[in-house]
Structure formats: structure tokens, C-alpha cells
């Protein structure tokens, strides 16, 4: 097990380094000069040079990249003289557009994105598993066909449409929910909770549909396995067959997908957060793309990469716990 973990972690690190390098390359090659953008309206060539030097953009590519990677582990200091800015490790750079350390910006918003992800995950897992199981058990009945139709509809509605429709119906017309307000949990827990209801539903709908289908298909597959028939033949009670023989193998693929989906979502739900004005990592990324704020986009990309890599490792570990067939010999 430790060796297995070690190889997974080291390969994960390589993946992250490559993500880092490619993102950096893309911005270095494609993006226009951020200094010009900061310089703005009444700009002069001298001012552009000054800003470039200040941001370290006048250095060659490999120097910039090297300093960036070192900064992640050792931290960096920007500026010189009496006016410096410390960026402690893990330093993911410094936002061009808002002069803040990218790591601080992420840390501030990560709890918000996590709240969105956890709430949505609970909803979609519940709905997906229950829906999928019912559908499988009642295969071919009206309930099954209805569920299948519903999942198709849910998967077809784009997030942003559902979000706006939901907001119009629940908030504007029925007034069951207030408009989202920016409140801290400690100040107004009720409003805080209500803020997240719509984002949770919007995110969960798409995922729940996919999970329903996945669960249904897996359970049906397993129920057709020989060993299940054998179990029936041996006269085992149905509930036991379901619990012990069918559900567990049917759920392993769901766990795999869930690990990746959830980890990806922690890195920010771009569309949902933007539509509902939720100040999470996803909205920050979307805003930064519009502003061409390279360090922030880099930071969020790396974070998302990191979370997916970690998510995968966790899934692999959990996998061995659920499914004895894939247990590694220590």
C-alpha cells in the first residue's frame, strides 16, 4: 500500500508540473502584453517598460517559470526598496489586475466553492442512487420509463438556463426564496443557507441525471451476472442478494466518477457561480479570464489539477476498500 501510494503521488506531481508548464506556455505564447493592459488609456512606452520590469515580465521565459515553481515551495518577495510585498509559500503568483496574492484569493473563496460542491453532491448522490436503483428494480415499468425520460430532460437543460428559470420562478414569481445576499454564515445563517439552495439544485440536476443512468445500468448489469442467479438459486433472501452481491460491485464505478466530479467541482463551478453571483473559485476564474489576469487563471488551473489528482488517489484507495478484487498485495 505505501509503495502504491508513493507511485501515485509522484506521478501526480509530474502531472501537475506538466499542467503548470503548459498553462504557463499557453499564456506566454498567446496572451497579449499584460503590461499594456495595466497601463491603460494614457499610456507611454516608458510606462509599459516600467510595469513590465515591476511584474518581472522582462525576464526570459524559463527564468519566469523557474521563479514561479520555486515560489510555490519557498515563497517569493515582489518589489524592492521600502515597498515590497511578501508572498508566502505556497506562492501561486500575484494577480496583475488586483495586486493580491493568488493563493490568498483562492483561500478566501475555496470555502464558498466547497459549500456549493458538498451541498450539490449530497443532493445528486441521493437523487442519483435512489433514482437509479428504483429504475433498475422496476425495469420496464412506467416508473422506469418516466425516470429515464426525466434524466434525459435534466441532462439536456444547460446550467445557465435552468439557473435563470429557477430564479425567475422561485424568487421573482413565487417569492419562496429571497434573492441571494452576500452574508456571512455567522451573521444570518438562514439567509446564508437559502443563498445556496438554488445553486445546489442547479448543479445537482445535471449530475443526478448522469448518476441515475449510471447506477441503473450498473445494477442491471450486475443483476444479470451468473453469481446473482446462483444466489437466487441457493434461496438467499432478496434483500441480502441486493445488499451484499449486487449493490457493492454496481457502486464501484459510481465511486470512481464521483471522486473526479466532486474534486473538479471543488475547483469551482464556473457557470453556476457566475450566474448566481457566488463569490467562489469558479467565478474568480471566469472573471480573470475576461480580464486576462494570467496569474489567477494559472492558480485556479493548478488548483483544479491538484484536486483532480488528489481525488483520483483517494478514489483508488476507497476502491480497494469497496471491491476486494482490486485489492493490492502489500
Amino acid at each position: 500500500m505505501p509503495r502504491f501510494l508513493l507511485t501515485r503521488i509522484s506521478s501526480g506531481l509530474v502531472v501537475l508540473l506538466l499542467v503548470c508548464l503548459f498553462t504557463y506556455l499557453v499564456f506566454f505564447a498567446l496572451s497579449p502584453d499584460p503590461a499594456v493592459q495595466i497601463c491603460g488609456k494614457n499610456c507611454t512606452p516608458e510606462l509599459i517598460d516600467q510595469i513590465r520590469a515591476n511584474l518581472g515580465l522582462d525576464q526570459p521565459f524559463w527564468t519566469q517559470f523557474f521563479l514561479f515553481v520555486v515560489g510555490i515551495f519557498a515563497g517569493r518577495t515582489y518589489g524592492d526598496g521600502a515597498s515590497t510585498v511578501d508572498c508566502a509559500a505556497p506562492c501561486l503568483g500575484y494577480s496583475f489586475q488586483s495586486s493580491q496574492a493568488v493563493w490568498d484569493m483562492i483561500v478566501q473563496r475555496l470555502p464558498v466553492s466547497a459549500t456549493v460542491a458538498v451541498g450539490a453532491a449530497v443532493l445528486w448522490l441521493l437523487a442519483g442512487l435512489v433514482g437509479g436503483l428504483l429504475s433498475a428494480v422496476k425495469e420496464g415499468t412506467f416508473l422506469d420509463r418516466f425516470t429515464t425520460g426525466l434524466t434525459l430532460t435534466s441532462m439536456s437543460i444547460p446550467n445557465y438556463v435552468l439557473a435563470l428559470v429557477l430564479q425567475y420562478v422561485l424568487v421573482v414569481q413565487l417569492q419562496w426564496l429571497p434573492f441571494p445576499q452576500a452574508v456571512a454564515f455567522a451573521d444570518d445563517p438562514v439567509q446564508w443557507f437559502l443563498n445556496f439552495v438554488m445553486p445546489w439544485i442547479v448543479l445537482a440536476v445535471g449530475y443526478a441525471a448522469a448518476y441515475t443512468r449510471l447506477t441503473r445500468a450498473n445494477v442491471l448489469d450486475v443483476l444479470r451476472e451468473n453469481y446473482v442467479r446462483t444466489a437466487y438459486a441457493k434461496g438467499l433472501p432478496q434483500s441480502l442478494i441486493w445488499r451484499r452481491h449486487a449493490l457493492r460491485p454496481a457502486l464501484t464505478p459510481v465511486v470512481t466518477i464521483f471522486g473526479m466530479d466532486f474534486a473538479g467541482l471543488l475547483g469551482g463551478a464556473l457557470i453556476t457561480e457566475t450566474v448566481f453571483g457566488i463569490n467562489g473559485v469558479g467565478k474568480m476564474a471566469a472573471d480573470s479570464i475576461a480580464r486576462n489576469d494570467q496569474p489567477v487563471i494559472m492558480g485556479v488551473t493548478l488548483l483544479a489539477g491538484f484536486l483532480v489528482v488528489v481525488g483520483n488517489i483517494v478514489v483508488d484507495v476507497v476502491y480497494t476498500a469497496i471491491d476486494p478484487r482490486v485489492r493490492v498485495n502489500a
Binding site: G40, T44, G81, V85, V172, T274, G277, I278, N279, R291
Partner: protein
């Protein structure tokens, strides 16, 4: 873009309305029947709903339409623009100073005297040393990325890099606690307007190094920072150390302000329309064009607030390109353009007025003329064809127009395309990503034949920040270039120098208007329209006046308050 030239943050807001943040203008009366001009009552909290976060809380760094207006609530300068409710809201008036500056005979030395009783929010007095220190921050290469005028106008030793790196700035003298003396590089009759720029804000000596002011505000205005969550909320409460007796500009009636940031533009409109709860006390920027049809009910019409625009949307013609270097071709294009279609493409007459001049009506110096007239503003095809014949281009030609990949600008470009097709000019559209649009067209090597963009003045009391940056041929840069036409005409350059040197601002403004006409005779740009501001304030808000200088034509925050502070 740093300034009112449609900040990058604003691009995010204005997904459909070009120049949205630049809407509004200098007239001091608001239209709409909602009674937004009633005197506000004392107390309550005004809510502001907005999409984009403020660029910076540090006035040496931030400098764009949205944040300048916010700064006005928390920061003061020696001078500032008159409140939006003033007879001439474009006027520059004394703020921390007792009166406007006294210039020496040679125009190189300007002296100001501070009022009594000025304090920061921590209770420390504001003296000439703090004013000088705050201003000198503009020279710091890492911090002074905001308004460039202080650096351009005030003399400084070569290589001076702000107080943190280079120490004292000897060209600003403080003979005593109340007096401050500026030495300029060359005479600048509008120096009062330069000191009204937000980066002339005083700060305690030695504060604000590095990123200290990224999350902090040391207030000199009527409000101080109570809470700031970047990308989410800003709350302001009263600054008890601000003495209303020292401030004739800021009514500051509400007890507090709450800015909610990061809201989807459609959601903002939805909230303003439904006006639930505290949203009756809310104001926001321009509504989305898509929301316009929904405002036609009598109840909502009563709440619609319209402000004239101060920014000109125009098409720059690159005079270094083949065909475009021929003045007859540029004039032909000026004749052929159909402004009626362009205004319709931009959301109709409620959102914009056609423009035939460089300077919009709300900017001082505006002169009303139309060198290339046509019936109903739909273009004079015959006159255009005749000029093209003279230029030997009877068979027409093909040109490339740079535009931002954004709905309303594409619609404008298509209107240009159709209009020019009538005279045989085929226009190919070159769509450029919103985030990189200005960088691309501001780089002459990447520019094509023409580009659609906009310009807003940095102060509207004269045309000094409108005409020179766009048409002074000596300022054509390899990058960050604003002279899109790349026109370098000695006659124009000379006139710019002459008018800039005039000490009689009113006379100068008249001459700017004449120069506007002189420039357009050569048709380096084609003015298209002036976008207006259309807003839907909450029903309990009042004191809404536009300010060209402080708010880029939007609502001047300093006069805003609530009708009934108990409501919402």
C-alpha cells in the same frame, strides 16, 4: 483600460451594451418622472448592486469610471468636481483647499491653502505634509499605475520613484502645515483639474507601502471602510472625524453604504424590477438592453432614470493604410455611414444618440456641426460615390474593420458594413476577443484599416483630455496607442499646443470646438454615437444626479440618499 475608456472590469459588465459604464452625462437634471431629485432624508443605508469588483481601493492604483465614484465617498483631494446637483457639474471646485490654486505669473508655480479641521478617519490631522505624501505615491512604479496626470504635469527629479524608494519629492513644497506649493514642468492652466484626480488623495506619511492599501482604506471623506470581502461586499459606515463644515461637495445623507459585487447583470435588473426588501434602497449601473422592453409598464416607467452620455463611440480610420491615406476616401466613408441604423443596432434611441462631432454635447467645448450631412442621418450615398470617383475608386475596394467580439459592437459593425456596401466598399469584420481588444488595436503593427471603439474624457470641464490623446501626432506609440487614426498633422499638433496653453479656459473651450471641426474635415475618425445611461433605481432612493467627472456620466454618489430611511 485604466480609465473611463471602458475599463476591463466594465467589459465584463457590459456584455451586451458597449460603453455601458460610460453612459450618462453632465446635465444636472435627471429625467424620468420618479422624483429622483427630492432632498434625501438623513440616515439609512444605500445599496449598490454591481457586477464587477472595484479595480483597487488604493486611489494611486485604481482609476476608472466605477471606482472613481466610490473613491469620492471615502477620499478627498485639494480640489474635486462639483456635485452632480450643481449648476455646472463639470466645474472643478475646492475640496480640502480653501480655494482653487493661485498660479504664479509664469504659470509654473501653484499654491494652495488647506482648510481648518481636516482629519483622517483615525483622528489624525490632514496637513500639507500628508497631501504631499499622498500625491508623491503616484511616482512609485509599482503603485502609481492610476491616473497619469500628476506625473505628466508636476515637475520631479529625473528617476524619482515615489516616497518609499526615493524619499522626499522636492518639487512639492510645504512651507507650513496649511500651505502647499507645486512646481510644474511647464504651464498647465487646468492644474486644478489635475489635483482633482483620485491619486491626489492625502495619506499619513509613510503609510501605504507595498500592498497595504489593497484591503485597507484610510478615509478622508465622509465614510470609512467597515467591511471588505473582495469580489463580494464592501460596507461603509460614517467617518465621525469628517467635519461636514469643511465639505461643500458631499451631502453624505445616508449613514452607510453597502456594495454587493459579483451579481449577474440579468439578476441585477431582475432585482431592481421586483424591488423586494432592501432593494428599494438600491441603485445600479445601466440596465441591460434586453431588459428595456420590460420597463414599459407605467409603474416601472416612473422609475426609469436617463442620463446623457459623455463618451463618443467612433470608428477610427487608419490613415497609414492604402486607400485610408486618401482624405477623399475617408470623407466618402463619413458621408456613407448610416447613423440611424447604428443607433438602432445599439439598442435604439433610448440607449444612444447619433453623433457627428468628436466632443459629445455634455463635454465643455462641444460645438454642434455636421460636416457630412444627410437626410435623417442615413448617409449621403451620392456624395460618397462622387468622392470615391475622384479618388479613382469607382469600383470600390475591400477594407478590414477591427471589432470587439461582443453582441452590440458586432451589430454596430454590421450596420457600418451595410452602409458602406451601398458605395461599393466591402467591409470584412475582424473579431477580436474582448479581453485583448484594446491591446490589439492600440498596437499599430496589429491594426487594420479601421476599428470601432469609444473615448470618455478624464474631466469634462474642457476637451483637454479628449482631443489631444486621440489626435496629437506626436503621441503615436508602438503599444498602448490611442491615436488610432495615426494622424500626424503639424497644423493639428500646433493648435493643440496653442489651446492647451490658454489660461482662459472658457475661451479655450470655444477653440476646442473649432478644432473638433478642423480635425473632422480630414475625417480621421467617424463619430458614430453617444451611448446614454438608462437606470432603474429603487423607489426609495433620491438625490440622483449625473456627474461626468466623478462618475463618468453615471450617478454621483455624494448626493444620493433615501426618501424614507426606515424603509427596506
Amino acid at each position: 483600460m485604466k480609465l473611463h475608456r471602458i475599463s476591463t472590469a466594465v467589459i465584463a459588465v457590459a456584455t451586451t451594451l458597449a460603453l455601458a459604464a460610460c453612459g450618462g452625462g453632465g446635465q444636472n437634471s435627471s429625467s424620468g418622472g420618479g422624483g429622483f431629485t427630492a432632498e434625501p432624508a438623513e440616515g439609512g443605508t444605500v445599496h449598490v448592486l454591481q457586477n464587477a469588483d472595484f479595480s483597487y481601493l488604493d486611489p494611486a492604483r485604481g482609476w476608472d469610471g466605477g471606482v472613481n465614484n466610490f473613491f469620492r465617498l471615502v477620499y478627498r483631494q485639494l480640489t474635486t468636481s462639483a456635485p452632480g446637483s450643481a449648476e455646472d457639474p463639470n466645474e472643478i471646485v475646492p475640496d480640502l483647499a480653501e480655494s482653487l490654486g493661485e498660479a504664479s505669473d509664469d504659470g509654473l508655480t501653484w499654491t494652495y491653502t488647506l482648510k481648518d479641521g481636516l482629519k483622517f478617519d483615525n483622528g489624525d490631522p490632514i496637513t500639507s505634509a500628508e497631501v504631499k505624501f499622498g500625491i508623491s505615491r503616484a511616482w512609485d512604479p509599482g503603485i502609481g499605475i492610476g491616473s497619469p496626470y500628476l506625473k505628466q504635469v508636476i515637475d520631479a527629479p529625473k528617476g524619482y520613484e515615489g516616497p518609499y524608494k526615493s524619499g522626499d519629492l522636492p518639487t512639492i513644497e510645504t512651507p507650513d502645515e496649511k500651505t502647499i506649493v507645486f512646481h510644474l514642468k511647464e504651464p498647465f492652466p487646468e492644474f486644478d483639474a489635475v489635483l482633482a484626480q483620485v491619486n491626489a488623495t492625502p495619506f499619513p506619511v509613510d503609510s501605504g507601502a507595498g500592498d497595504e492599501f489593497i484591503h485597507e482604506i484610510i478615509a478622508s471623506g465622509p465614510y470609512k471602510l467597515a467591511e471588505y470581502v473582495p469580489g463580494s461586499t464592501i460596507k461603509l459606515t460614517r467617518n465621525e472625524n469628517w467635519d461636514p463644515a469643511t465639505d461643500e461637495v458631499r451631502a453624505a445623507k445616508p449613514d452607510g453604504w453597502e456594495f454587493t459585487i459579483g451579481l449577474d447583470p440579468a439578476t441585477i435588473d431582475e432585482r431592481l424590477i421586483s424591488g423586494q426588501g432592501a432593494d428599494v434602497n438600491a441603485i445600479a449601473g445601466n440596465i441591460q438592453p434586453a431588459t428595456l422592453p420590460r420597463l414599459q409598464t407605467p409603474q416601472l416607467q416612473e422609475r426609469v432614470l436617463e442620463f446623457p452620455g459623455i463618451c463618443t463611440t467612433y470608428m477610427g480610420l487608419n490613415t497609414t493604410k492604402k486607400h485610408m491615406d486618401d482624405v477623399r476616401v475617408r470623407q466618402a466613408i463619413s458621408y456613407a455611414i448610416d447613423r440611424t441604423t447604428i443607433v438602432n443596432a445599439s439598442g435604439g434611441t433610448q440607449l444612444g444618440d447619433p453623433s457627428t462631432t468628436i466632443l459629445p454635447p455634455s463635454v465643455a467645448g462641444h460645438k454642434d456641426f455636421d460636416l457630412y450631412p444627410s437626410e435623417d442621418g442615413t448617409g449621403d450615398v451620392e456624395a460618397a460615390k462622387k468622392l470615391l470617383d475622384e479618388a479613382g475608386l469607382s469600383d470600390g475596394f475591400t477594407m478590414t474593420l477591427d471589432i470587439r467580439a461582443q453582441e452590440s459592437m458586432q451589430a454596430q459593425a454590421e450596420a457600418v458594413q451595410q452602409a458602406l456596401e451601398r458605395v461599393g466598399i466591402t467591409v470584412e469584420l475582424n473579431l477580436i476577443d474582448t479581453a485583448t481588444y484594446y491591446e490589439t488595436i492600440g498596437t499599430p503593427s496589429q491594426q487594420h484599416d479601421a476599428a470601432i471603439t469609444g473615448w470618455c474624457p478624464d474631466w469634462a470641464s474642457s476637451a483637454a483630455t479628449f482631443i489631444p490623446p486621440l489626435f496629437d501626432g506626436r503621441n503615436i506609440y508602438e503599444k498602448g496607442n490611442a491615436n488610432l487614426a495615426q494622424i500626424n498633422d503639424p497644423a493639428i499638433n500646433e493648435r493643440i499646443d496653442e489651446i492647451k496653453a490658454m489660461t482662459d479656459i472658457e475661451a479655450a473651450n470655444e477653440q476646442w470646438g473649432d478644432l473638433d471641426e478642423q480635425i473632422l474635415e480630414q475625417a480621421p475618425i467617424v463619430p458614430l454615437m453617444v451611448a446614454k445611461g438608462v437606470m432603474l433605481p429603487g423607489e426609495n432612493v433620491t438625490g440622483l444626479y449625473s456627474s461626468a467627472n466623478a462618475a463618468t456620466g453615471g450617478i454621483d454618489y455624494v448626493g444620493v440618499g433615501l426618501k424614507d430611511p426606515e424603509k427596506g
